[in-house]
Subunit: 338 residues, 2 copies
């Protein structure tokens, strides 16, 4: 958000919207909280699709699906990804037939990949397919792939360059990380609905979920039009730290930071996002780090960011939105006093 | 078989082979019987692929799969097609996601279509895929698609031209049949392994299974090189009647004959095959029709052709092969006395 925009002087929008940038499991928790705080139909989620890959010849979009299952209430609460009550009949036979089965796909989940692959093959866009699936599964929020073009996260490791899911699932994040590439991101056309959502005058907040900065948020930002539109978005951009107490709540963020010789600290996350960030939400256990982040010119809010229960998710979402609202007012005040 | 070939004068082959032409359920019964009578590794089955179609975006080959499941012992004995102990988890979700579900695919069966579709998409031939699947599922016989090219049976009906599975499964064979077309058959390249099998000097018999002449055997014959190779095959070609007592044992053969104004009689089946047939196996209940078939110059053998039990299948297979052997000897004798 720029000061100019915040001080735009137009009447306050009658119904506000919220946009979240999210990867999979960790991000989906906060997204579910947001959907519990605002009218879910006013919430748009920009999903990372850099993790997408073809498995058993089917297009799998892990982050989209985690968001869909989480928001539809179909998710497996124990693992955070996949569906509850899954069976493995297809996968068991696929193994017998010589298919690679290191990436598990449950029977119900497979129907998603089958229908998506069929529709992609006949030329329908990933956005159109995803929105239709959301509607059919009762998800009132919009889950939007960052692009309809295929972008593929590659992990540069000590063992060579690995496609993301090979690194993440097959090799269990064991290879030492040296860097990341987002194949196709440079030429990928940003999802027009994403750009519209980020430019919407009714926008109340853009929330960067506590997802992995390297493999969940960076691929979204690597689509250049999304990054530039984020700069001009009319609402505050607020990120929630994925690092709490010197470790990542979920997934390999901390391990990656160590291997990349980056301090495992929310400060470093805030530093990465500093160019476009209007506010940063820090866990209460890291409150002492606030001054270091504020030194970047980024206001800080502390909160309990560890989301164990649904109440935790809703509570954090409320704090994030109220913090964003405060940033809006402050920006407005600043412009008035300037 | 031509007389010349039968009298070829070369030493009898040390190990003989058998070829069967087959559609799905009905044909697979006799094929299973043949695999119980001869060394299964010497049996080659030429499968109709005119029924193949894409469902849920996956390539489904019903006749190949029925043969694979029957010979591997995985088939559902009650319905004759599909696998035993199936579940419907994928299909149930696919319905929720708006997919067409009038053609049921069980979860285990789906793994077959998924792996086949994946491998076809990367350029592997249907033959190579099918043979690999046979090996993995413990099928010792060779199941060969008639062609690696896509051939599509179309049913000309009073309601218009229908893709075969729409006619057969979706519309339950209700539309009045006027004729058939085999799209792609004219340009389809015959499977080279099929031509080799039909030309093999060790060949003992070519068995036309009691499959539907119009939609299971005719598509195979519509591949012109298969038809011409059948003319020159070194072994007797023996067909088993799919019509018993004025009706078809299985499927819509009799209904189609009525609608095409053809007598529902084994005589009419023999007439269709007359050009390439060396012998015809008639059910005992139709023994009185033998003279009409013999009038075409086709020797007739009667047998119990209704295969309820595995013993029935093996018994019929034995009769068919012994009949074929007798035709071989007779052809040899004829040439000697000429």
């Amino acid at each position: 958000m720029s000061i100019d925009q915040a001080a735009g002087g137009t009447a306050p929008p009658t119904s506000s919207t919220v946009v979240a940038l999210s990867g999979g499991v960790g991000g989906a928790k906060l997204v579910l909280g947001l959907a519990g705080v605002v009218d879910p139909s006013t919430l748009t989620v920009i999903a990372n699709t850099g993790d997408d890959f073809d498995h058993l010849g089917l297009r799998v979009c892990p982050d989209i699906d985690t968001l869909v299952y989480t928001l539809s209430g179909l998710s497996n609460p124990d693992q955070g990804w996949g569906r509850a009550g899954e069976t493995d009949h297809v996968m068991e036979v696929a193994r017998t037939l010589g298919e690679e089965t290191w990436f598990f796909l449950g029977d119900k989940d497979l129907a998603m990949h089958i229908t998506r692959s069929r529709r992609l093959a006949v030329g329908e866009s990933l956005t159109s397919i995803t929105l239709d699936i959301c509607e059919r599964l009762g998800v009132d929020s919009r889950i939007l792939p960052m692009s309809n073009d295929f972008v593929s996260t590659l992990v540069e490791t000590a063992d060579g360059v690995l496609p993301f899911q090979h690194y993440f699932v097959r090799d269990r994040c064991e290879p030492l990380v040296k860097g990341f590439r987002f194949d196709g991101a440079e030429t990928a056309i940003a999802n027009p609905q994403v750009l519209n959502a980020l430019s919407d005058n009714r926008l109340r907040a853009v929330v960067v979920a506590p997802s992995n900065p390297f493999i969940s948020i960076d691929p979204i930002l690597a689509v250049s039009e999304i990054r530039s539109t984020l700069d001009g978005t009319p609402a505050p951009v607020v990120a929630v730290s994925p690092i709490v107490g010197g470790d990542s709540i979920k997934g390999p963020t901390a391990k990656m930071m160590r291997e990349l010789k980056i301090d495992v600290s929310p400060v470093e996350v805030a530093r990465r996002y500093a160019d476009f960030l209007d506010g940063f939400v820090l866990d209460v256990v890291d409150a002492q780090l606030a001054p270091q982040i504020e030194a970047f010119g980024i206001p800080v809010q502390t909160a309990n960011t560890v989301m164990d229960s649904l109440e935790d998710r809703v509570m954090l979402a409320r704090v994030v939105l109220e913090f964003s609202d405060a940033l809006s007012r402050r920006a407005g005040d600043n412009s008035v006093t300037e």
